[in-house]
Each structure stands twice: as structure tokens, then as C-alpha cells.
């Protein structure tokens, strides 16, 4: 840690971790509900819908906290200056946390916008927007005052601004369900396959540069090519969500072609990471942080690249759309692209903030491998269930519950792997919050 104000990042990370744990507990309830019967009396009080709203919103909340913390850690080092206002950073952290907790408790009482992933009620949306504006202001002012622009800073600020702007499309009430889904994807798709990719590509480039000591010019050159490809394939690739919603038929072509190319930037990222690691100019100090970086690139490729490609073509998507195949892809992609990236950032920054040069990574290693193996199995089980569902329900035309009964076994598998994942996560969280220097 070189600048005092980088310390604020620690509290963003520390706030994100318990939320991640809570997300997994709700996930277990969801998997249980798929496998066994939850009695009517429980369903009437705590339905699947509420638990799902909490599961997904916790994901967004902890990941955004991670990105913001990551930004507050990186920006001082990139600009070679302190954060414009530490007070604003604190205020914004507390505001976001309070909004998040109010929203989660609100869901329990049925206070919701009622649109998947965008359940946060409209009045709270306004608080989120104000918080985002404060964050952007704080980051932009730091950069403008320092006036030492780098590609990493530009990408980060661009991605965060894009992220905040897109959120606005999720706020209005749309009368026409077709238009509603059309703009719903401006938030969801353009976030995860646009804005979030920009933010994480910048964070990833920064950490990679610091870890490997590879020349900035080289890292930033590849960063441009990667984000260029991400946006080229990702923006028009939104079309792969417009096949079956009542939009014109040409979206089958636009979505099919552009999204078939979506694995390319991720593949480039993997190759690029491997090259940087091979041509490193520094010694490997904290091996686990490196493992996270490589693991993130590889899992990103599997979850987002491979699993996404598998069902993005209209001919296949006609049968897999709206099935558990999507859940398989969603879990692998979010874990690979964003959860591992955040954890990599935490493992990079938290020891530095605490002043630990070499940390004891035995617990952390166990956590990493347990989570990765468990999530890979979860993704596979969801996908098997999804293929069964597509065939039984969509191809054979049998009833929904008939398909569900064949899927039970695999959803039970998800439930049990969920416990393994939780064990890995609890180890990781404990490790991160109680980092110790390695005994040499």
C-alpha cells in the first residue's frame, strides 16, 4: 500500500465477504426447494421467489462493493495521488450497505419492483443512483486532479460510467412486456457482457501488471484489444436475448453472429495472461494470488466463453431458452468472470493494506480449490438438468413437472455441492479476514 486512502478498499472488501456467504445460504434453500417438497405453509411465508430475489441481489451487491473497493485501491496507485475525498467514499459505502439491507428486508415483506434481478423498489433505485453518482464523482475528481491518464484508468472510469448509465434503463415501468424485456437486457446483458467486463478487464490488467512486472505499454496494448473485442461482440451480442420476445426476426442473425464471437476476447485474455506469466520480470511471491489470476482467466473462459457459446445459436437456444441450461451458464460465468476476479483482487490488496508482504496461503489454497471444484460440478449438474428439461419438455412436449421429476437427482447434486462450496467459501472468508504472515 502506497497511499493512505487506499485503506478504504479494505472496508469495501470486508463488507462484501459476509454478503457473499449469505448469498450461498439462500442458494442452498433454492436448491433444496428444487429437490424436495417445501410445505405450503412455508411457501406462503417465504416463497422461492423471495429467496431468489435475495440470492441474486446479494450477488450484485457484494460484487459491486468488490469493484468499488478495487477501484479505490487501484486509482491512487495509478494516479499517484490520494482519493479526492475519503469522507465521500465512506459515506457512499454506508449508503450502499444501508440501501442493500433495507432492500433485502423489504423483499421479505413483499416490497419489490417484481422484475427479476431488478427487484429493488423504485424509491430505493434513486438512492442507488445518488450513491453511484457520488462514487463516479469521487473517482473522476481524483483522476482529473492528478491528470496522469493511463489506459487502465480510462477503461475503469469508462466502464463505471457505462455501468451507472445502463442502470437507468431498468427503472421505468414499461407497459409493453416486449419493450420491458428489451430494455431489461440493456441493464443485465450490457452490464455483464459490457460494463462489468470493462471494469474487471481494467482491474485484471492492473493486478497482472503488478504481479508480473510486465511493461505497462504491453499490458495496456492488450487491454485495448480485449475491451475492443468485448464491446464489439458484446454490444450487438445483446441480440441473443431478443430471439423469442417478439422483436423482429433479424435479431436471430445479429445475436447469433455477434455472440458466436463472444468467446474470442476471453480466449485472448487467457493467452495474454499465460504469456505475461511466462514472461514475468518479478519473482512469484504470493503464489495463491497468481493461482487466482490464472484460475480466473481459465474459469472465465469455461463459464462465459464455452457455456455461453453452447446455447447462444438460435437453433439450439430455441430448445434451451428459459431452462436450467441458463442457470448452469449463469453460475459458471459469474463465478469464473466476477467472483474469482473479486477474490483475486482481495488476495492482492488485503495483505498489502495490512502490511503483510508474504502471507500464509495454506487455508486460502484449500478454499480456492474447494470452491472451484464445487462450482464446476454445480455448473455441470445444472446443465445436465437443463438438457433433460429441454428434451423432455421442449422436444417431447411432456409436462413441466414430468421434466422436473427427472431433474430432481441433479438438483439434489447441486444442493450437496452447495455445501462443499460453502465450506470452501467460509475458509476463504476466514482466511482473508485473518491474514497472517507466512512462517519462512
Amino acid at each position: 500500500m502506497e497511499y493512505r486512502s487506499q485503506k478504504i478498499a479494505y472496508w469495501y472488501f470486508a463488507a462484501a465477504l459476509p454478503l457473499f456467504v449469505l448469498q450461498i445460504f439462500l442458494g442452498l434453500y433454492l436448491a433444496y426447494s428444487y429437490t424436495w417438497t417445501v410445505p405450503q405453509s412455508v411457501v406462503d411465508v417465504f416463497p422461492f421467489a423471495t429467496a431468489r430475489a435475495m440470492h441474486t441481489n446479494l450477488l450484485v451487491l457484494w460484487m459491486l462493493l468488490g469493484f468499488m473497493g478495487g477501484t479505490y485501491y487501484i486509482v491512487p496507485e495509478e494516479t499517484k495521488s490520494e482519493i479526492y475525498s475519503e469522507k465521500l467514499a465512506w459515506f457512499q459505502l454506508i449508503a450502499l450497505l444501508v440501501t442493500g439491507v433495507v432492500a433485502l428486508v423489504g423483499f421479505l415483506f413483499g416490497w419489490t419492483q417484481g422484475r427479476p434481478l431488478l427487484e429493488i423498489p423504485r424509491p430505493l433505485d434513486l438512492v442507488v443512483v445518488v450513491g453511484a453518482l457520488i462514487f463516479l464523482f469521487n473517482v473522476a475528481m481524483t483522476m482529473i486532479k492528478a491528470n496522469r491518464w493511463t489506459a487502465i484508468q480510462g477503461t475503469l472510469l469508462g466502464g463505471l460510467t457505462f455501468l451507472a448509465l445502463l442502470y437507468l434503463f431498468g427503472i421505468p415501468f414499461y407497459k409493453n412486456e416486449v419493450i420491458d424485456w428489451f430494455y431489461w437486457w440493456w441493464v443485465i446483458h450490457l452490464w455483464v457482457e459490457g460494463a462489468w467486463e470493462l471494469v474487471t478487464a481494467a482491474i485484471f490488467a492492473f493486478v497482472l501488471m503488478k504481479l508480473t512486472g510486465v511493461d505497462r505499454q504491453v499490458v495496456e496494448k492488450w487491454l485495448y484489444v480485449e475491451i475492443g473485442l468485448f464491446l464489439f461482440t458484446g454490444i450487438a451480442g445483446t441480440g441473443h436475448h431478443y430471439y423469442w420476445i417478439g422483436a423482429p426476426r433479424y435479431w436471430l442473425w445479429i445475436g447469433g453472429i455477434f455472440s458466436a464471437l463472444e468467446p474470442l476476447p476471453i480466449l485472448l485474455m487467457v493467452i495474454d495472461t499465460m504469456n505475461h506469466v511466462k514472461e514475468r520480470k518479478t519473482q512469484i511471491v504470493n503464489r495463491l494470488t497468481w493461482t487466482y489470476a490464472v484460475g480466473c482467466a481459465v474459469f472465465h473462459m469455461i463459464g462465459a466463453g464455452v457455456w455461453g457459446f453452447l446455447h447462444t445459436l438460435p437453433q439450439i437456444n430455441y430448445y434451451t431458452h428459459g431452462s436450467q441450461v441458463t442457470a448452469g451458464h449463469g453460475h459458471l460465468a459469474f463465478f469464473g468472470a466476477y467472483a474469482l476476479l473479486n477474490l483475486m483482487t482481495f488476495y492482492y490488496a488485503m495483505p498489502k493494506i495490512k502490511g503483510i508482504e508474504v502471507y500464509d496461503d495454506r487455508r486460502g489454497k484449500f478454499g480456492f480449490w474447494t470452491m472451484c471444484v464445487a462450482m464446476m460440478l454445480i455448473g455441470l449438474f445444472f446443465s445436465v438438468a437443463g438438457v433433460l428439461q429441454s428434451y423432455i419438455e421442449r422436444v417431447l412436449g411432456m409436462g413441466f413437472m414430468t421434466a422436473q421429476s427427472y431433474m430432481r437427482l441433479w438438483m439434489g447434486g447441486v444442493f450437496f455441492c452447495g455445501f462443499a462450496f460453502l465450506a470452501g467459501l467460509l475458509t476463504t472468508v476466514t482466511d482473508l479476514l485473518t491474514l497472517r504472515p507466512a512462517k519462512l
Binding site: 421467489a49 412486456e177 420476445i245 417478439g246 431452462s323 417431447l396
Partner: protein, 233 residues
């Protein structure tokens, strides 16, 4: 490759994709009214959408394939189980799903809200969405019809005739209802086209016809049924 070229790749890649996307978005807005039958999107449909969101239905069900996968897709729910079927399931899920191992929450929606939601589902079901979902396809035969064709070896039209309730009123070889005329030799009197027209709108052929128009049949089902009936000579 220099960093400058890399920057241009970024800029041109982003801009070209954005241009394609925004142009298609603009065009979609021009076409959406026709594709979604916006003229039928009345206040009840909008009220139904609000109720649908109020009770967070979409975090268990999918609609147009989006949402949670815990409960059946609702895109063509009215076509599949009928308006009464929808009302019953929302009103008394504890009864409707008493025998199921998966339960549905009773959201205690008012009768007015339920009626609005039915209007909403009906409207969504009519959206021209490239014939998704496949199991409720409007251009292909239903699974039950396919099974009869494959297992019993009857023609697709005969399968439609047997599964779509024609025999509640009509008979073939003495089997079936007596409310409508027997159809054993209908092919002698009418051509395929005439039969098609009759099934679709009986009154347009015979103003005194008692038979209700068969609006539920898909075009394919109608064609096959007419072909089958015209072959009976």
C-alpha cells in the same frame, strides 16, 4: 502492433457494434407495435402486468422464457390451460397443487387482479415471438397428436380429429356424438378448402350453422383435419 493501433481497434470495434445495435433498436421500435399487437394492449393488460409484478410472480415463473425456472413458463399459459385454469391456480394454489411435490404461494390476489393477470397472459400469448416455446408451438402438431401419428399409425388429420374434441358432436362409423351430423362421407360433399373454411367459421358458409368456430386449432392442425375429412368418401 503498436498501442496506437490497439486503441483504434478498440474504438472502431466498439463504435461499429454500437451502430448496428442502435440502428436495430430504432427499427425494433418501429415494428414492435405490429409484432406485439399493441392495439390490443389495453388498460386491463397493463393492470395485469402491474399485478404480475406486485406479487413477484416472475421470480418463480418465466414469461417469454425469462425469469426463474422454478415453475412453468407463462408465455402461452392461457392457450395451454385456459382462462379458468389460470384463475383457479392463482386463487387456490393449495388445492390446485395439493397432489404436487412442488407448491405455489397463495399471494391472495383479488378477483379483479386475477382477471387482469389473465388479460395480461392472454395478450402475451398472442405476441409474435418466432413460435417459442416449442411445446406450445402454433405451427406444429401437439405432442399428443404426434404420439397418435407415430404409435397408432393414423394420419395427422385423424389425430387432430380425435384429440381436439370433434367427436363430442360428430361421429365416424357410429362412434362419437350425435349433436352434429355424422361425417363418414363428408368428402363426397365438400372439398378440402371448403372444409377448412367451414371449421374456421361455420356461419360464413351456412348462416344457420350451430357449430362454434374452431379458433383453438393451429393452421397446421386445421389443414390436416380438413385433408383427413375430405378423404372420407
Amino acid at each position: 502492433m503498436t498501442k496506437k493501433i490497439a486503441f483504434w481497434i478498440f474504438l472502431l470495434g466498439t463504435l461499429s457494434s454500437a451502430v448496428v445495435f442502435l440502428a436495430a433498436t430504432w427499427d425494433t421500435h418501429q415494428q414492435v407495435a405490429v409484432l406485439s399487437n399493441a392495439d390490443k394492449l389495453d388498460e386491463r393488460v397493463v393492470a395485469g402486468k402491474r399485478a404480475f409484478e406486485k406479487y413477484n410472480c416472475n421470480d418463480c415463473h418465466t414469461i417469454l422464457g425469462f425469469g426463474a425456472y422454478y415453475a412453468p413458463d407463462l408465455t402461452r399459459v392461457v392457450q395451454r390451460i385456459g382462462e379458468e385454469g389460470v384463475r383457479y391456480r392463482i386463487k387456490s394454489p393449495e388445492k390446485a397443487f395439493a397432489g404436487s411435490w412442488r407448491k405455489m404461494q397463495n399471494v391472495h390476489a383479488s378477483d379483479a387482479e386475477i382477471a387482469d393477470m389473465v388479460a395480461f397472459f392472454k395478450w402475451v400469448g398472442e405476441v409474435n415471438n418466432n413460435d417459442w416455446p416449442p411445446q406450445d408451438s402454433k405451427i406444429r402438431l401437439s405432442r399428443g397428436e404426434q404420439a397418435m401419428v407415430a404409435s397408432v399409425g393414423v394420419s395427422p388429420g385423424a389425430a387432430v380429429f380425435q384429440t381436439k374434441g370433434c367427436m363430442n358432436c360428430h361421429s365416424l362409423h357410429g362412434t362419437g356424438g350425435t349433436f352434429g351430423p355424422a361425417l363418414d362421407t363428408v368428402g363426397q360433399r365438400k372439398t378440402t378448402k371448403e372444409i377448412e373454411r367451414y371449421i374456421r367459421d361455420p356461419k360464413s358458409v351456412n348462416p344457420k350453422a350451430m357449430m362454434p368456430p374452431q379458433k383453438e386449432l393451429t393452421n397446421r392442425e386445421l389443414e390436416e383435419a380438413a385433408k383427413f375429412l375430405s378423404s372420407l368418401k
